[in-house]
Amino acid sequence: MIKMLTACGAGVNSSHQIKDAVEAEMKKRGYQVSVEAIQIKDLNPETMKGVQIFLPINKPDLSFDVTVPEIDAGAILYRMPAMAAPVYDKIEDTIKKNHLS
């Protein structure tokens, strides 16, 4: 199971859209992934523990360095398959390149 994390304002809307879309698409592509969706102000080194790919919306300013691959997943929110596809491709590339499982 590949563990990812996404975050948005209240941890209920945008981040859940990303979570559902990434989990569904990656399953289609044959990967076992689980995406956690949280409120961005709860993001800290502790919540990042065990996370293999970080999927923020744009680039958040954080007080710590993110050490895992970071892929901007904002384009998923446009609800247009053609615009979301590059995000999924990048996630798949990252999984392959880093041999994540």
Partner: protein
């Protein structure tokens, strides 16, 4: 004609009598299905909405029944009339989505958006279907206070159109805040309709407090220091202790209040995510349909506000404003809400971020000055919210009369005042007719002034962009 009415009564009356949750299950499923969503996907949304409605009622019930004795004792011992329970945004959104009118207003807003796109009045396609509830809330509030259905509809068409124009005006600022000029993200969220007022306050700030700007600090660091104290459950806990203490409750009762507060605030946001999922099939259906008819045009896309939630100033300002809000609530004449669920003012700080472009001291000072508007609007809307909650069955029957719910930092406070004035003016009382006319004129005028300021700002952005390309 009589036969039709009789027939409609026979068919619809029993369905409506089932209550809000079953009605919305049926209505949402049918509408999503009609928009081309697969039947079972549409049904999934319908069931999720019914469950979210039922869940939110259960928690409002827990919160109000636990807090009411302490709040009443607090009012009695201090004489401070803070008897309205602040439930935060999730219950308000859920009960608004529990009204069938919301689907009609949604349809209207989609038509308005597509119409404005075709006329080239805007470049933004709004895909944030879920947040239509803010518009519906405004219209329902106007109706509650006496407005005719069509008058309320006209009011939200005006607000809806300005909201969409505002999303175009803000677009270059979002690019600046995101350090990214190549993205279609913008938003039509109602919280940004405070921008004109904030901009006015910002100009005043420029005149008198400019010297404060040099005290700006690193907001990411502050947020790190605040840590878990800013999370939902922690806020629920210490506000429970606070209310218990001022309500002169016993130790056992204070613990109960504290943990119940934590549970409720945590569960409100969890259930919030249920009904966002419930509206998801409908959102995708509407977006697909709109995309099909707008082929080939490069558009900006209106999202929910949090695509800028990565800016740490937003949270730093919300964290600092929370205790200020509590203090203001205690001393503000005419306020009857004790901040609880809405104390982290997510409906307030995004607009501050956009207007000040992240100057944290300005955000805090202007925020503190404008918070009373939110408290008064919340107090004003409490009877309306309580009545809608009762009508969709989301309000506990056991609580004594006079108990009310509201949100201390609900987005669009100015729009709530307008809804109230427009509603009341429909009764024909000349005082309210005047209020409504003056209010609407001032609303449009200040927006017009704000639009001019934003166009000046955007011209500078455009010039910078052109210079960088050279």
């Amino acid at each position: 004609m009589q036969t039709i009415i009789h027939f409609a009564n026979v068919v619809f009356k029993p369905i409506i009598d089932l209550g809000a949750a079953p009605v919305m299950l049926i209505v949402l499923t049918l509408i999503a299905w009609a928009l081309g969503v697969k039947f079972f996907r549409a049904l999934e949304g319908g069931i999720r909405l019914a469950i979210a409605l039922t869940g939110i009622s259960a928690i409002i019930n827990i919160l109000t029944t636990t807090y009411q004795p302490a709040l009443t004792a607090f009012v009695k011992s201090t004489g401070i009339q803070l008897s309205i329970t602040d439930v935060g945004w999730a219950p308000l959104a859920t009960i608004t989505w529990g009204s069938p009118y919301t689907l009609f207003f949604l349809l209207l807003m989609v038509l308005l958006n597509v119409g404005m796109l075709l006329l080239k009045w805007t470049n933004t396609l709004d895909v944030d279907i879920f947040d239509i509830w803010h518009i519906s809330f405004t219209a329902l509030m106007a109706i509650y206070f006496g407005a005719n259905f069509w008058v309320a509809t006209a009011l939200i068409i005006l607000i809806g159109a300005l909201k969409i124009i505002n999303s175009d005006l803000m677009k270059p600022t979002f690019n600046d805040l995101l350090h990214n000029n190549d993205n279609p993200m913008t938003t039509t969220h109602l919280n940004y309709m405070m921008n004109p007022v904030i901009m006015l306050l910002d100009k005043i700030y420029d005149l008198f407090f400019r010297w404060l700007d040099r005290f700006d600090f690193d907001s990411a660091k502050l947020n790190e220091k605040i840590g878990f104290w800013g999370s939902n459950f922690a806020i629920g806990c210490y506000l429970g202790i606070f209310i218990g203490l001022v309500g002169q409750q016993g130790v056992e009762q204070i613990f109960t209040l504290s943990f119940t507060g934590g549970v409720c605030l945590q569960l409100f946001s969890l259930i919030g995510s249920w009904f966002i999922k419930a509206v998801e099939p409908l959102s995708q259906g509407v977006t697909d349909l709109a995309n099909k008819h707008l082929k080939g045009r490069k558009l900006n896309i209106g999202l929910d506000w949090p695509f800028i939630a990565g800016r740490s100033e937003m949270w730093a300002a919300a964290n600092v404003l929370a205790p200020i809000l509590l203090l203001e609530a205690l001393v503000l004449p005419g306020n009857h809400i004790l901040p609880l669920g809405g104390i982290i003012a997510m409906g307030v700080t995004p607009a501050l971020l956009v207007v000040t472009r992240g100057r944290i001291i300005r955000m805090i000072v202007i925020g503190a000055v404008e918070l009373p508007i939110f408290l008064w609007a919340g107090t004003l809307s409490a009877p309306f919210i309580t009545s809608v909650a009762k009508s969709v069955g989301a309000f506990p029957a056991g609580v004594k009369g006079g108990t009310m719910i509201a949100e201390s930092t609900k987005e669009g406070p100015i729009e709530q005042f307008l809804a109230y004035a427009v509603g009341k003016s429909s009764t024909g009382e000349i005082k309210f007719v005047l209020y409504a006319i003056i209010g609407l004129a001032a609303y449009c005028l200040i927006f017009w002034w704000y639009a001019r300021q934003m166009k000046k700002r955007n011209a500078i952005y455009a010039k910078e962009l052109a210079d960088n390309k050279d």
